[in-house]
Each structure stands twice: as C-alpha cells, then as structure tokens.
C-alpha cells in the first residue's frame, strides 16, 4: 500500500479539499497552460471538449483520493478514473496525438496543483512534502496509464489495419471462364503467401478454373523466400490441376532472380498481364482477334458460303432440268408402253 506508512489519515488530506474547493481555479490554470503550450492542437480537440475532459479528471481525482485514502493508483477507488483515462487516450490515439503530448497533458496538472498546494500549507512543510509526494506519484501513474493505453490502442489500430490489408491483399479475380488472376502487390511474407495460396486454391475449386495468372507487377523486391513462396503456390496449383502463368516480371526482379539462382524453368512467364491473358485464352482454345480481322474472316466465310450456295442452286437447277427431261422421256415411254406399272420406273 502506501509507502510513506501514514495510515488512513484520509480526512486530513488537504489535496482533496483543494481539488474540490478550488476546482475552477485549477481548471482555468490547467487549460490556460495547455492552450499556451505547443501541444494544443485545436484541429484535434475543441476547447469545450478539452475543458469537459479536464473537469471530469479533476473531479474524479478528488473523489477517488477521498475514497482511497493515501492508497496507490492500483486501489479500486481509482478504477473509474483509470477507465476514463483509457478512454481519453484511446480517443487521442485514434486522432493522432503523439504519446508525449498524451502524457504531458496529465503531468502538466502537477505544475498547476503543486503551487496551490504549497499556498494551502504555508508553513507546515512536512505535510506538504508528504501530500506532494503522494500527488506526484499518482500523476506519474496516470501519465503512465495514458502512455500505456495509447500504445495499446495504436497496436490495436495497426492490427486492425493489417487484417484489413490481408483481406484486401489477396483478391482472386475470375477474368474469363476457367481463368483466374491474382495480382500481388507489396511484399510477400510467409503469412501473406500462405493466405494467398489458400485463397487461390479455394477459388480454383470453386470456379473449376484450369489457369491462374500470377501478376507480380506490384512486387517491388524479390528474394529467395518470396520466390520460394511463388514456386510453392504454382506447384500446389499444378497438383490440383491448374496451370500458372507468371506475369509482370520487372527487369530488376528478373536480374535478382537470375543472380540468386532461382530456377523458374517450371513456371511459364510472360512480360505483361495482357500477354498472360492472351496465352491463357490460347490455352483454353480461344483467341483474341481484332474486330476487323474477324469481320473480314466472317465476310470471307460468307462469300464462300454464298459461292457454295450458288453452285448448289446451279446444280439443283441442273438437276431439276435433268429430272424434267427424264420425266418428259418417261411420259413418252409410258405412252409408248402403256401397260408398264409406274413403280418400276426409276431414274
């Protein structure tokens, strides 16, 4: 508990009276000090908010000290205050304060309170030192809580952002029937590579795609580890029955890969994503042609068909003329040999 071993002289703590009776005075001084300092950034917090926050802190501090006696900051009486500080520092972390600004905000209360406290005590220096010690210790703890929580909040934000990035960073896009693309951007660490591989393989199953295009245009640096991840992904996709095409290899990466002695002979590579798509289409038996060429080809085919049709109709006409003449002849024969049954007549 308290290390200056003064047991429960709660009632006599002058600091409590000071904090409650001269609250507004303290507040004014504290906030004035804050506003003058370089730390105050009115784009981050309004004066009214700052005042409200500060008032709550002073009030809670007075109440908690009264309840706690001279106990340390870990005492349950300070729970509310601690929670409130946590909340403030989280808000400040989100808004972009630095940790130093955060701690200074609380610690600067000391510069306001200590002179007033000295005024209160006037002569009795022994009690002044005791209460001053106590109050400073409290404020130090509060400052630490602020910093600690600030860092924790920051880490939470970073974690959150990393999770977001993870999700965003492994998009598997179906560009055509049976063709997937996987644009890789940024650096590939093991975790990301693993996620990427899983996402790709899952998508291959879902869409029953047979070709995957891995585009590394957005990958700035390549080392053996990253290359290994790529090769693993390609091999796993192959085991499932999908072929991979690696595209967007920049000159720098090509140089590094060869210098590192990475063997990519197993992997089909193309310079650009568009080449990859073209190759993929070829692999599934399709081709990209210009509209003009297509229409020409179609016209050619139509011409050929027309010609063929003309030929056919000419032939048919010829045929009918033949049959006509045949029929004519038949008639003549019939009339010639009238008793002949008609179904014996064949062309």
């Amino acid at each position: 508990m308290t290390d200056n071993s003064v047991p429960s002289s709660q009632a006599s703590l002058r600091i409590v009276d000071l904090l409650s009776t001269r609250r507004d005075e303290i507040l004014n001084l504290w906030i004035a000090g804050r506003l003058e300092s370089d730390d105050f950034r009115d784009e981050l917090i309004t004066k009214i908010d700052l005042r409200n926050q500060s008032r709550q802190i002073v009030e809670m501090l007075a109440r908690s000290i009264r309840e706690a006696g001279e106990a340390d900051f870990e005492h349950p009486a300070f729970d509310d205050l601690r929670d409130f500080l946590n909340e403030i520092s989280r808000m400040r972390a989100v808004k972009g304060y630095t940790p130093m600004e955060n701690a200074t905000y609380i610690l600067s209360l000391r510069d306001v309170v200590i002179p007033l406290l000295a005024e209160e005590f006037e002569g009795s220096s022994e009690s002044l030192v005791r209460e001053m010690n106590y109050f400073t210790r409290l404020l130090d703890k509060m400052g630490l809580v602020m910093v600690d929580n600030y860092i924790r909040s920051r880490e939470e934000i970073i974690h959150q952002q990393r999770a977001d990035m993870m999700e965003l960073s492994t998009p598997v896009i179906k560009v055509w029937d049976k063709i997937l693309t996987l644009p890789i951007i940024g650096t590939l660490d093991s975790r990301r590579a693993q996620m990427m591989m899983e996402a790709l393989l899952q998508k291959i199953v879902e869409t029953s795609s047979t070709i995957a295009i891995l585009d590394i245009t957005g990958v700035r640096t390549m080392d053996t580890l990253v290359a290994n991840h790529l090769i693993k992904t390609v091999t796993a996709a192959r085991l499932m029955g999908a072929r991979c095409i690696l595209t967007g290899v920049s000159p720098a990466i090509a140089q590094t890969m060869v210098q590192l002695g990475i063997d990519l002979s197993q992997i089909t590579t193309r310079a650009q994503m568009s080449d990859g798509i073209k190759l993929a289409l070829e692999m599934i038996g399709r081709a990209v042609v210009s509209a003009k060429a297509l229409s020409q080809a179609a016209n050619g085919a139509a011409d050929a068909a027309n010609a063929a049709a003309q030929k056919a109709s000419a032939l048919a006409a010829h045929g009918t003329s033949i049959t006509e003449s045949n029929r004519q002849r038949e008639k003549e024969t019939k009339s010639f040999f009238s008793p002949m049954p008609p179904n014996d007549i064949q062309q």
């Binding site: 199953v205 192959r238 499932m240």
Partner: protein
C-alpha cells in the same frame, strides 16, 4: 483386405480408380499392383485416379502415385490424378513433393478430356463409331 475394396472401373480404354477413403501403406501398395495387373488384363491406355475424397496424402502415397504413373508409362498407359483438395496440395508442397511425371487435373471431366485429346486415348465406342462413319463415307463415295 482394404486395398481390394477400391474399385477399378474400365470405361472404354481408360481405367477409373476412385479412392474413397484414406489409405495406409499396404493398401496403397496393393492398389498399385491391382492397377498394373488390370492394365495388363484389359489393355487399357489410360489410368484416371480420383483422389477428390482424400483429405490426407502422405509422402508415401505421393511417391506411390508417382511410381504408378512411371510404371504405367512403361506399359504404354498415361496416368492422370484428379481432384486434389487444396489442403492436400498445400501439404504435399510443404513436404516438397511435386508428383513429377504425374498429370494432375481438376475433375474427372477434365481428366477424360486430357486423356482423349493429349494422349489420343479414345473410348472403344468412339473408335467404333469413327470406323463406322469412315466405312459409311467409303460406301457413299463408291
């Protein structure tokens, strides 16, 4: 013996082997022998091993699959492994097994397509049909 419970179906000139449960080493060895003897007996030209229901492929099974492919190749038959699960593929890659020499495809459909187009292995029926149509053409021409 569990190994003899795995069916080996002859469809046209292709043997289809759907593996439906995780195998131990003996089972997979027995399967290898059965596939090879079926190849000899039926004169099939292709083997299609469906492992889409397998959740575990260890290094031994992986090696035996490669072996089957190599052995069947000597007996003039092509082997296609079909429908590997993502988790299995990842495990094999982590183990450093690439199943070299084995053709892997997504599903049975693709497997049959591959055997037909790439390796020219046709169904007997198809071959028969083609012969018939060739014959018909000849008749027409004469």
């Amino acid at each position: 013996m569990e190994g003899s419970r795995i069916p080996i179906l002859k469809v046209g000139r292709v043997l289809i082997v759907p593996i439906q449960f995780d195998m131990d080493d003996q089972t997979v060895m027995l399967l290898q022998e059965r596939i090879l003897s079926e190849l000899e007996r039926t004169g099939a030209r292709g083997v299609l091993i469906d492992i889409s229901l397998l959740e575990m492929v260890d290094s031994f099974i992986g090696r035996v699959l490669s072996d089957i492919a190599a052995m069947a190749r000597i007996m003039d038959a092509r082997t296609v492994v079909v429908g590997m699960q993502p988790a299995v593929a990842i495990t094999l890659v982590e183990l450093g097994l690439e199943l070299r020499g084995v053709d892997t495809v997504l599903n049975v459909d693709e497997g049959i397509k591959l055997l037909r187009s790439e390796f020219g292995i046709d169904d007997e029926d198809d071959a028969g049909n083609r012969e018939l149509s060739g014959l018909a053409e000849q008749i027409n021409r004469s």
